[in-house]
């Protein structure tokens, strides 16, 4: 379906979308109406993100970064402006079409993991494939592969309650990964994790970004987490205030090696 839609609107791709841009936001506005009051959450955001980028989005609460992420994640539609995802204008799609886009092109990672409880890691990872109609056997193979990619082989049948926070978040990353999306949107993925586990998760993101050229968009309010990205975009008052590359991004793998080793007991705990 997306291919057809792109073909039916070639002018979008050629005229507006710079080649290679996964995300192309053009003057996005979002206004909420709370009774009589209008809240201008986004006041004209233009941003282009190319394939393979690792972008951190920063900003205080109320800066519009969450609203922007909702639009980028196709959970919401802009009031004004255009948003092209891989050249396809998704700002006018209906709910069903948006659900399809989320299913095939976007992988979400949330702060609170948002795994289905009392459901095995494998089945959690399988979930997006169920909605895209992948046959059972293939679902299992792809879910296992995604779990391997985040270093969780052997934990397929564990329920979220039996996993540590870092492991749960890795299951969530595997779930975001399983449909080979164009982009992974991570909303404060380390917000509920201690600093050591945070580095572990960043290592997973960096590795996926490097080895598979997966585009990653990461919202965080922690400046030291943003340093793992290649580019930092800062929001303020519904606009992009600063957009700059990170001169020398941290390498999570190396940072991890410099961390003091855990006691044997603590290591056990982690598992």
């Amino acid at each position: 379906m997306p291919e057809e839609m792109v073909q039916s609107r070639p002018e979008n791709e050629i005229a507006a979308s710079p080649s290679g841009a996964v995300i192309y936001a053009d003057n996005l506005h979002k206004t909420y109406f709370l009774g009589e009051v209008q809240v201008h959450a986004l006041r004209g955001v233009s941003l282009s993100i190319a394939r393979g980028e690792f972008v951190a989005i920063m900003g205080a609460s109320g800066s519009g970064k969450s609203t922007f992420m909702n639009l980028v994640g196709c959970l919401d539609r802009p009031t004004r402006g255009r948003y092209l995802l891989e050249g396809q204008d998704v700002s006018k799609l209906n709910n069903k079409e948006l659900a399809g886009i989320r299913n095939r092109k976007i992988g979400f990672v949330f702060q609170g993991f948002n795994l289905l409880s009392r459901t095995s890691a494998l089945e959690n990872v399988e979930l997006p494939l169920i909605y895209s109609g992948v046959p059972h056997q293939q679902r299992i193979e792809r879910a296992l592969e995604a779990l391997r990619a985040v270093g969780l082989e052997g934990r397929e049948s564990h329920h979220p309650a039996q996993l540590s926070g870092g492991q749960q978040q890795r299951v969530a990353v595997a779930r975001a990964l399983v449909n080979s999306p164009s982009i992974i949107l991570a909303d404060e993925p380390t917000g509920n994790l201690d600093s050591r586990t945070s580095v572990e998760i960043m290592e997973v993101f960096q590795r996926l970004n490097k080895e598979r050229s997966i585009t990653i968009l990461l919202v965080t309010h922690e400046p030291d987490i943003a340093l793992y990205a290649k580019r930092v975009v800062t929001f303020k008052d519904g606009k992009v205030r600063r957009d700059a590359p990170v001169d020398d991004p941290l390498d999570a793998g190396e940072v991890f090696r410099t961390l003091p080793a855990l006691d044997q007991d603590e290591e056990e705990d982690k598992d």
Binding site: N95, G100, R104, F110, L127, P128, Y131, N179
Partner: protein
């Protein structure tokens, strides 16, 4: 999502809260079970009525001498002398809807055999009577038209009479006295049991009507005429034609009442069956109220479940579930819940009606149709009461749902 996956997800979700699931199903189980049970009892009763109706005879039309109004004074039917053997013959000849006809004379008499005696009901009839009543002999034979023509002193007796007069002795060929007249026993009737009106049908002696007329009752008219219509459907028209014919033969003016009554025991049994059906319907509708209550229980629990699982719904939507997917998920949960309840209810209802049968000795009959309707109905309850909660789930905004604490 394919159908099997939808059902699997629904079963899994229901399995997470087993106690809640069972309690919710209980409403449907009780409702369906009660409906199946009451319908089975009602069906059993009406079956019994049908059975006794068939036992009564073959599409019987019954003409009895009716009360006559003599200047405002109603006389008893026994006083009516206008119904005659000629009327019976006329009905047989002129009304083709009637396939068999027998005139009948009734009397009560003392029977004596040896030192035993027994007071019973004497019926004077034609040989056709045995066919009309579907009443064969179990031993010996019945009398013939020749016996009728010659007013023969022969009789066929019922089992109750046999027991009371003969005990273990074989009555065939023996002579009993009816009001001091000797009669030869030529047959013993097969047992018929109780009539639908509570009389012991086997307590009777059957004699050619001419013999009763001349030698026992001393009358020239008859008390009743009994016949078989050609089919169940022709009973009603035959009754009307007989009434017309008899009014003509009895020279009744249009303003005069009938001096006879045409009836059919089917009427009475029909009335009984009808009131039984109404009773069943009433009970079943009371029982189905509990199905309704069960449905409301499902709706209630589904609403709670949607609220509890708001985040799950948000996650599913984020990874690509459409509104239809979410709606389908919750709707199928409700339907699986009610269908499971319906199935258990059917089993419970069948077991219950079997228990009623064996403990209270009531006849019951579980209709396959009733089972089908109950299962379909419980599915419908699930769809009806599951729709709103499912709609509510599907309408959730994924952003709000993901933020829900």
């Amino acid at each position: 999502m394919d159908f099997a996956a939808v059902i699997r997800v629904a079963l899994r979700a229901l399995g997470r809260n087993k106690m809640r699931t069972i309690l919710t199903m209980l409403g449907i189980i009780i409702g369906v079970g009660a409906v199946i049970c009451t319908v089975a009892i009602g069906e059993g009763a009406s079956n019994q009525i049908q059975e006794s109706l068939r036992n009564l005879g073959d599409n019987i039309v019954f003409v009895s001498a009716g009360s006559v109004n003599h200047g405002g004074v109603h006389m008893g039917s026994a006083a009516t002398k206008t119904l005659t053997v000629a009327d019976a013959i006329a009905i047989g000849q002129q009304i083709p809807l009637m396939v068999r006809i027998s005139p009948g004379v009734g009397a009560s008499a003392q029977l004596v055999y040896g030192n035993q005696n027994w007071y019973t009901h004497v019926r004077g009839v034609a040989p056709a009577y045995f066919q009309i009543r579907r009443w064969p002999v179990q031993e010996g034979g019945i009398f013939t038209q020749h016996d009728v023509d010659s007013s023969a002193d022969v009789c066929v007796i019922g089992l109750t009479v046999v027991q009371n007069l003969f005990g273990d002795e074989n009555p065939l060929g023996k002579t009993i006295r009816v009001q001091s007249l000797p009669f030869r026993v030529i047959g013993v009737l097969a047992p018929k049991g109780q009539s639908p009106f509570g009389q012991d049908e086997d307590d009777t002696i059957i004699i050619p009507y001419t013999t009763v007329q001349k030698k026992i009752a001393g009358i020239s008219w008859v008390n009743f005429i009994m016949g078989s219509a050609s089919s169940q459907e022709t009973i009603k028209p035959a009754q009307a034609q007989i009434a017309g014919l008899l009014r003509e033969r009895h020279h009744l003016r249009p303003d005069e009442d009938n001096d006879f009554m045409v009836s059919s025991p089917t009427d009475l049994a029909e009335t009984q069956a009808q009131s039984g059906r109404i009773m069943t319907l009433l009970l079943a509708s009371i029982a189905s109220v509990s199905l309704l209550v069960g449905g409301i229980g499902i709706m209630n629990i589904m609403l709670v479940s949607v609220t509890e699982r708001t985040r799950e719904i948000g996650v599913r939507m984020a990874v690509g579930a459409t509104e239809q997917d979410v709606q389908m998920q919750f709707l199928s949960e409700a339907v699986v819940l009610s269908l499971l309840g319906g199935t258990v209810g059917v089993l419970g209802g069948v077991a219950g009606s079997m228990a009623v049968s064996s403990m209270l000795n009531w006849p019951t009959r579980v209709l396959p149709e009733a089972i089908g309707v109950a299962v379909l109905f419980s599915a419908a309850v699930g769809i009806f009461f599951g729709y709103y909660p499912a709609r509510k789930a599907a309408r959730l905004d994924p952003i709000d749902a993901l933020r829900y604490e």
